[in-house]
């Protein structure tokens, strides 16, 4: 079975400060991990993914995420937040060893960047 948790419903950060949106996962094997962003009244947009290799993954809009196997985490980070980064962020996981190709999504974290 595969599952993903986003422990924070909301993250508040000041513009220009670094931001972190947390994600932890549970899989029986090794994971494929994804981050998506949803702006108001829009569909989800892909940000980045971890498949294999380098634990630090760089994605769109200056975002990056670090895969930590020992802590089963895949936190999303950005060195300097922008007000325009305010959105809903979803983490998703797919178990490589699972029989389904369907990912499981977290409940989402609302990021609010204050001017």
């Amino acid at each position: 079975a595969q599952s993903v948790a986003q422990p924070e419903d909301q993250v508040n950060v000041a513009e220009g400060n670094p931001l972190t949106v947390k994600c932890t996962y549970s899989v029986s094997g090794n994971p494929y991990l994804f981050w998506y962003v949803q702006y108001p009244n829009r569909g989800l947009q892909f940000l980045l993914k971890y498949i294999t290799g380098d634990n630090l993954v760089k994605g769109s809009y200056g975002f990056e995420a670090e895969f930590n196997k020992s802590q089963t985490s895949f936190h999303l980070k950005k060195p300097s937040a922008l007000v325009s980064d305010s959105a809903l962020y979803f983490c998703a996981v797919r178990d490589r060893g699972g029989g389904s190709y369907i990912p499981t999504f977290g409940r989402g974290t609302s990021l609010i960047v204050h001017p």
């Binding site: 494929y32 569909g43 892909f46 190709y101 369907i102 989402g108």
Partner: protein, 115 residues
């Protein structure tokens, strides 16, 4: 390319009425999905399809039916709408790829209200 499009964008139904939501993608993707998004619940998978003529149940399939008669289209039907089906519905598609490593592309959503 238009990507993933959804029709209609908004709809209000009365309890017991039926309707069909249409999803179309022009990326030649094999996989297509229907999700519903409710506050605090994240994304929940309703049905999905791994190819033309095939469909499968997701996490919350009750009260919905789907069809994938053409590769580019994925239809979601509500035979007898209930207030519990008030939600925002998202369609997504992805390439087949290798073992589910490919990210999903989402449509803009359909906001459905059942009175």
């Amino acid at each position: 390319n238009a990507g993933v499009t959804q029709t209609p964008k908004f709809r209000v139904l009365k309890t017991g009425q039926s309707m069909t939501l249409l999803c179309a993608q022009d990326m030649n993707h094999e996989y297509m999905y229907w999700y519903r998004q409710d506050p605090g619940m994240g994304l929940r998978l309703i049905h999905y399809s791994v190819g033309e003529g095939t469909t499968a149940k997701g996490e919350v399939p009750d009260g919905y039916n789907v069809s994938r008669l053409k590769k580019q289209n994925f239809l979601l039907g509500l035979e007898s709408a209930a207030p519990s089906q008030t939600s925002v519905y998202f369609c997504a598609s992805s390439q087949r790829g290798t073992s589910g490593i490919n990210e999903q592309f989402f449509g803009p959503g359909t906001r459905l209200t059942v009175l």
